[in-house]
Subunit: 709 residues, 2 copies
C-alpha cells in the first residue's frame, strides 16, 4: 500500500539540501504516501491562486508560509487561521508574504500553503519516537492537558498491527472519551487505527525519521485527519546492534546450560576461594558430566585431575566457569575461544561495574572473534537443575522444578535462592546476568523457549540492552510459556540508583510497561511478587474461561477477595445463574449467602467445603475457584487442606481441571495447611487475601495474552 | 463573617413555597452571604432595564430566564450568551421571554437575569454532597472531562479548613494545571480556597442543603468566580445518630476492657461448647479478676461457683460475655442491664447478618435503655493482654505488645491472631466488632487513645456506621498514636460482597480514601499490609526529618529500595552533601558507589556495614536508614544482624535515635537474621525490598499527618 519510493525521494532531497526537518508540504506528501489522512491543501504562489484554491476546498481555510528558513511560522506572522472567503484568502496571502519578508528579509519563500480547516471532533495526538533500547515506538494520547499534565499516553513497538493500535485506543486512562462523552459521537476507531499503523510503518521503513508528531489529529464519527505534521530527521544512524542468529544462540545456549564437560578456570583446593566453591558445587551438586579444573600449579583439585590450560584438555569442553581475578580473564578467555568452548561464565568482577569499560570491551571483542558467548562478568554463575549443575560459588541448590529465574543483580539472585529453598519452590534454572556484556534476557528466553524442563520464565532486569530484541522474542515465547519480569529502576530515583550500580540507564518506565504488555510479559510489581508468581503460576492449570467464583467460610475474606479480583483483573461470575445459585444454596445454611462470593459461613463442617467446591469444579460455567478458609474447631486447617486436595484430584481424574487458589484465615496451623495445599497444586496463603488472587490474576493475564482465552 | 440569617430567610421562603431548588438569584444571594464570589448580576423585567444593567457591568454578558417553573433553561431557549452591546441586550431580553412562554405558556416568569461573563481562567468545580456515613462533604475538581471521565475529584469533610482546602488543590491528579501550564498563569489559590471553605461552611450550617454545585468556577491569576450555582434542598432531615458523650464512652470502655469481674452467660462444663471455651480462655489466660459463670443448672463450671443469673451475684460485674443461642440473648441482656453491667460481649450469631434485624434492634433498645454497651453480636469476642483477658472462644493469645487490632469480620480476626502468633507480634488487644450494633471503631479509638498499653491502633472495617464520628475522633487520636485502617469493599465487587456479608453498604471508595487521609489515618492496601504495618510501625522511633539514606551491600537491592522509596512517599537525601559523601567513601571500596544509595558492594566484611551505618546514625542530616544486606561468606546473616543491633543500640545510648529498616537478600539463614533484627527494633524482611520500605513509609506518613515533621 505504502509508496516507499515517494518517501525515499523526499528524504533524499531533504538530506541533499542539508536539512533535518521537513516543510509542511513535504510532510503532507509523506503522509499521503502512507495513507495517513491529512487536510486538503496546496501551495500557492499568488493571491489569485490562493483565492481559487481556497474556494475549491470550501471555507474556512488556514494559510501558512512555506519557507525552509522559517521554522517558527506563528512567530513570523506566517499563519492566518479562519479565512472565510475568496477575498479574505487573497488578502491573507499578501499579508503572510509581507510578514515573512519582514521577519527574515533573505528567507527563501516557496509560497503560501492553503489548508482545509478541520472542524469539530476530538483532538488526539499520534506520534513516533526513537528509543535507545526499543528503537521505533508509536505513541497515542489525547490532545491538550491530558497528555501534557497527566502524561496519559501509550506506546507500542513500531511497526504496530491494527490490533496493537486498537489496544492503544483502549490503553489510555481517558479511553472513555473516544466512545463519546456528554452524549457526543464516538470517534471513528478504524480511521484512528489506520493513522497509528501508518505512522508506525513509516518510521519503521525509514529509520532516519527520528521523531514524528501528528498534533492534533481531529477524530470524529466519520474520520480522523491529522491537522499538523512535524517530522524530524536524523541521518546519522547508529549501526544496528549485533544479534547472532537465533539458531546459533540456541545451539550455544544448549551447550552452555547442558554441558557434557565443564572447565573451571582458577579451580582451587583452598577453601574460601571462589574456584574452590565452584568445584565443590559442581561435585557435590551431582553434576554427571566431566569436570576439568584449570590450575597453573596443582596436579589435581579436589581429587580431580587438573590442567594448566583448557588447551591441554583433549576432550571437547562446552562451558568454562571463570574464577580468576579480572586481570587474568582476557588471556584465559582467548584460550577458551581457541578450544572452541561454547560459553564463558564470567564470575569475576572488576569490569564495567567498577568503571573498567575497556576491560569489558576487550572481553566482548574476544568473545565475538572466537564465537564464545559470555555470561557476566560480575555474576554468581548459574544453576541448571535438570543437569544437577551448580556452576556458581553460592550455596548449592537442587530442588527441581519448572521455573527458570534470572537476575541482573547478584543480591537479587541470592534472594531468589533463599526464597526458593524456603518455599520449597522447584526451579529449572537460576542465572546471573550481571554486566550483560553478551548473554542477556533474550538469549535466555530463546533457550528456555525450547527447554522442556522449563514451564515459566521469571527475570529481574534493571535495563534491557536491546529492548527490541527482547520484546520480539518475548512476544513469541510468552505465547508458549509465561514470562514474568521484575523491572527495577521503575522510578526516577530507582533509575538513578540503577545507573550508579551497573551503568544501566533506565528508559521511561511507561515505555517498558506498554512494551512488556504488548509482548505478553507479566510485569511483577515487587521482588516478593516476582517470587510468588514464579512459584504459583506454573502450578496452576490454564483456565478455560473468565468466570471466577469465590467460595468462602469467612464472609470478611470474601469481601477482601472480591476487592483483590478487581485489582487483578479477574471477572467474578455475576449474576450467578439461578440454577447454579440454587445448587450452591442446597449445601449451605439458610443464612449463608449464595451469589458470588458463595458464603458458606464459618461454622460449617468439612463436607460443606467439599460439596460446594465439587460443584464449582463440576459446572462448566465456572472456570476458576478462589477459596476462603476460616479456621474453626469443626473444620481444622489440615482437614480442610486434605479435603480440598482430594476433591480437586478426584475431579481432575474426571477431566475437570481448573485453577484453584486459597486464602487461609486462622491460627498458626493454617501455615502448614497452606504449604500442603501449595505442594499439591493449590497455591495457598495464610493471613493474606491478596496473594492467592495475584497468582491467579497473573495466570489469567498470561492466558489472555497468549490467546488461550 | 457569614450572614446566616440571610440564608435562613431565603431557605425558609423556599420551604414555605414548597420548592426544593433555588432560583439563580437566590443562589447568588446565598453565595454572597458566605463570601463565595459570583459574577455581577441582576434581574430585569424589561428590555430597557436589561440594556441599562448590562451596560453598567461591561460586555459581554450572559442572559438567562428566571422562572421557578423552568429548570432546564437552555432547553427552553432561555439562555443567550455573548451579548455584546446594549442593543443586543434589549433584543435578547425579548427573545428569552418569547422562548420561555413558547416553552411553557403558564410558566411564572420572574424576569431575565443579566450576568457578567467571566473570561479566561481555568474551569474548576466546587461542590458539596451529603453522604450517609460521612454527612456533608465538600468536593473539588477540574471542569470538563477531567472530572467526568477521569473522576479526578477530591473530597473533604465539611466544614473544611483553609489547610484542608489547600490540600484539595494539591490532591487532584491534575494539580499541576493549577500552577499554570504552557506558560500560563497559576490560579489564585487563596481565592479558590476561600470558595471551598465558604461552600463547606454553608452546607454545614444548613444541613437542608443536600447538594451544591459551583460549575464552572473560573479560576484566574486574580480571582476565582463561580459562574453557575446549583443548590438542591432536602428539608426532610434524618434525625442525627445517637452518640454518647465521649467521657461516658471512655468510662464504659475502661470497665469493659479492664474489668474487675467478668460474667460468662452460658458458661458450660461441656467441652466444645462456646461457653466452655470462653471459661477455659478466661481461666487459662491468667485473668486475675473475678469470674462468674452463669448457668441455669450447674452449681459450678470448671471449678468456679456458678449462678443462675447475673442478678444473683452480689459483687459488681463489669463485663458479660454471652455464649447462649440468639433467642436467649435479649432476656439475659436485660438482667445484665438491671445489674448495671458496663458491656455485653455478644458472641452469638443469628441477628442482623442472618436477616434478623428486629432481634438486633431489640438488643439495641435494651442497651440504650439500661446504658449497657454492646460489642457485636456475631463476634469472636476480644482479647486485652494487659489484663490477661481472653474473652473469646478462639484460641488464647498472650504475647503482650503495643498494637491494638480490631476486625469487623471473624475470619479476619482469626488471621490477625494467626499472624500475630506466627510473627511473634505482641498486641495489647484484638477486638471483634461483627455487626456493630453499638460499639464501633470510634468507641475503640476513644478507649485506645487513653490506654497507655496501646501505641498503635489497626482496624479492619467493611463500613463505618458513622464515618463522621470516626473521622472526628481519628483526627485527634491519630495525632497521638498511628491509626491504620484496612477498608474492605474498596471496589464495587468488594462492596457488593460486603453488602451480602453483613449488610454493610460501602460508600464511594474515593470518599473513604480522602477522608481517612484528612483524618491522619494510614490506609492499608491489603490484609497482609495491615498486619505488617501493625507489627512494624510501633517498633520504629519517630523520624526527626525527611532525609532517608539507603546503605546496601547489594546494588540490585539499592535500585529496588529506591523504587520502593518513591512508591511510599519517602525522600532520599539527594544530592548527598560533599563532606558526607566523602565520609562514606572512606569506608567503601573505590569501585563502590557513594551518593544515595550508598553501595558498599557485596564482598565487604561486617565492619564496612558497621562503619557506614554508624555514620548514618551519627550525622544529623540523615533521619532514617534503609539497609540492604547481601548474604556472603564474609558477612554471614546473623553476624550482620548482631552487628546492626549492636550499633543501633550503641548510638541510641548516645541519643542518636533513628528509624532503621532492613531488606535481606540471601539464602534461608537470612530469615533467622530478619527475625532477630525485628525483635530488636529493626523491622527486617527476607526476600523483599518493598516490605521494609512500606513500614518506614507508614511511619513517615503518620509522623507528617501528626504534625511531627
Amino acid at each position: 500500500m505504502a509508496d516507499k519510493s515517494k518517501v525515499r525521494a523526499i528524504l533524499d532531497k531533504v538530506k541533499a539540501s542539508g536539512r533535518d526537518s521537513l516543510t509542511a508540504p513535504e510532510g503532507k506528501e509523506i503522509c499521503d504516501a502512507y495513507g495517513i489522512a491529512v487536510p486538503q491543501e496546496g501551495v500557492c504562489s499568488s493571491a489569485a491562486d490562493a483565492s481559487k484554491l481556497a474556494s475549491s476546498m470550501g471555507f474556512p481555510v488556514v494559510m501558512k508560509i512555506v519557507s525552509p528558513d522559517i521554522l517558527h511560522k506563528t512567530e513570523a506572522g506566517g499563519v492566518i487561521v479562519g479565512v472565510k472567503s475568496a477575498e479574505e484568502a487573497a488578502a491573507a496571502y499578501d499579508k503572510i508574504i509581507a510578514n515573512a519578508k519582514n521577519y527574515k528579509a533573505d528567507a527563501n519563500i516557496v509560497g503560501v500553503q492553503v489548508q482545509q480547516m478541520i472542524k469539530g471532533g476530538l483532538e488526539v495526538i499520534v506520534g513516533a519516537i526513537t528509543d535507545d533500547s526499543f528503537g521505533k515506538l508509536v505513541a497515542f494520547g489525547l490532545g491538550g492537558v491530558l497528555v501534557e499534565v497527566l502524561k496519559d499516553v501509550t506506546f507500542r513497538l513500531a511497526p504496530a498491527t491494527s490490533e496493537d493500535a486498537a489496544s492503544m485506543l483502549d490503553g489510555i486512562q481517558a479511553a472513555e472519551m473516544l466512545k463519546g462523552v456528554r452524549g457526543g459521537d464516538p470517534v471513528n476507531r478504524e480511521a484512528l487505527q489506520k493513522i497509528i499503523v501508518g505512522v508506525s510503518q513509516l518510521v519503521s521503513d525509514f529509520p532516519e525519521i527520528s521523531e514524528l508528531d501528528l498534533n492534533p489529529v481531529f477524530a470524529s464519527r466519520d474520520s480522523a485527519i491529522a491537522a499538523d505534521v512535524r517530522i524530524v530527521l536524523n541521518f546519522d544512524q547508529k549501526p544496528a546492534r549485533f544479534r547472532p542468529d537465533e539458531k546459533d544462540v540456541v545451539i550455544s545456549m544448549n551447550r552452555i546450560m547442558k554441558p557434557k564437560a565443564v572447565a573451571v578456570i582458577g579451580a582451587s583446593n583452598e577453601a574460601g576461594k571462589i574456584g574452590n566453591s565452584v568445584m565443590k558445587n559442581l561435585i557435590n551438586g551431582g553434576y554427571k558430566g566431566k569436570i576439568y579444573p584449570i590450575n597453573p600449579k596443582d596436579a589435581e583439585v579436589m581429587g580431580v585431575k587438573a590442567y594448566k590450560s583448557v588447551k591441554d584438555v583433549e576432550d571437547e569442553i562446552d562451558t568454562a566457569v571463570f574464577a580468576v581475578p579480572a586481570k587474568f580473564v582476557a588471556s584465559a578467555l582467548k584460550e577458551c575461544g581457541e578450544k572452541k568452548i561454547a560459553g564463558a561464565i564470567l564470575i569475576p568482577s572488576g569490569f564495567g561495574e567498577t568503571g573498567n569499560i575497556e576491560g569489558q570491551e576487550e572481553l566482548q571483542r574476544i568473545g565475538r572473534e572466537y564465537n564464545i558467548r559470555l555470561m557476566g562478568p560480575n555474576i554468581y554463575g548459574f544453576y541448571y537443575t535438570p543437569s544437577n549443575l551448580c556452576a556458581t560459588f553460592c550455596t548449592a541448590y537442587d530442588l527441581k522444578g519448572s521455573t527458570a529465574l534470572s537476575s541482573q543483580s547478584g543480591g537479587i539472585g541470592m534472594a531468589i535462592i533463599g526464597f526458593s529453598r524456603s518455599a520449597k519452590m522447584g526451579v529449572s534454572a537460576i542465572v546471573g546476568l550481571g554486566n550483560k556484556s553478551d548473554i542477556d534476557e533474550d538469549d535466555l528466553l530463546l533457550f528456555f523457549e525450547q527447554d522442556d524442563n522449563t514451564k515459566v520464565i521469571a527475570q529481574h532486569a534493571e535495563d534491557l540492552k536491546d529492548g527490541r530484541a527482547f520484546a520480539e522474542v518475548a512476544k513469541r515465547v510468552s505465547k508458549k510459556k509465561p514470562v514474568i519480569m521484575l523491572k527495577a529502576g521503575r522510578t526516577s530515583m530507582g533509575a538513578a540508583a540503577a545507573a550508579s550500580h551497573t551503568g544501566a540507564v533506565a528508559g521511561t518506565d511507561k515505555i517498558y510497561d506498554d512494551v512488556l504488555r504488548q509482548s505478553g510479559v507479566i510485569r511483577a510489581k515487587s521482588l516478593r511478587q516476582m517470587l510468588e508468581l514464579s512459584r504459583g503460576v506454573p502450578i496452576l492449570p490454564t483456565p478455560k474461561g473468565e468466570n471466577v467464583v469465590i467460595i468462602t467460610g469467612a464472609g470478611g475474606s470474601g469481601v477482601l477477595l472480591s476487592d483483590a479480583c478487581v485489582d487483578n483483573g479477574l471477572k467474578l461470575l455475576k449474576p450467578m445463574p439461578d440454577d447454579l445459585d440454587a445448587a450452591f444454596r442446597k449445601f449451605i445454611p439458610p443464612f449463608g449467602a449464595a451469589g458470588n462470593p458463595v458464603d458458606i459461613t464459618g461454622g460449617e463442617p468439612p463436607i460443606t467445603y467439599v460439596n460446594t467446591v465439587k460443584l464449582g469444579l463440576e459446572d462448566d460455567r465456572i472456570h476458576a475457584l478462589i477459596l476462603g478458609y476460616w479456621h474453626t474447631i469443626v473444620t481444622p486447617p489440615m482437614v480442610f487442606a486434605r479435603n480440598m486436595v482430594a476433591i480437586v484430584n478426584e475431579m481432575k481424574a474426571l477431566g475437570k481441571v481448573k485453577p484453584v487458589v486459597a486464602s487461609l484465615a486462622g491460627d498458626v496451623e493454617v501455615e502448614e495447611a497452606a504449604q500442603y495445599l501449595y505442594e499439591n497444586g493449590i497455591p495457598a496463603y495464610a493471613y493474606s487475601t491478596e496473594l492467592p488472587v495475584e497468582v491467579l490474576g497473573a495466570k489469567y493475564q498470561w492466558a489472555r495474552a497468549a490467546g488461550l482465552l
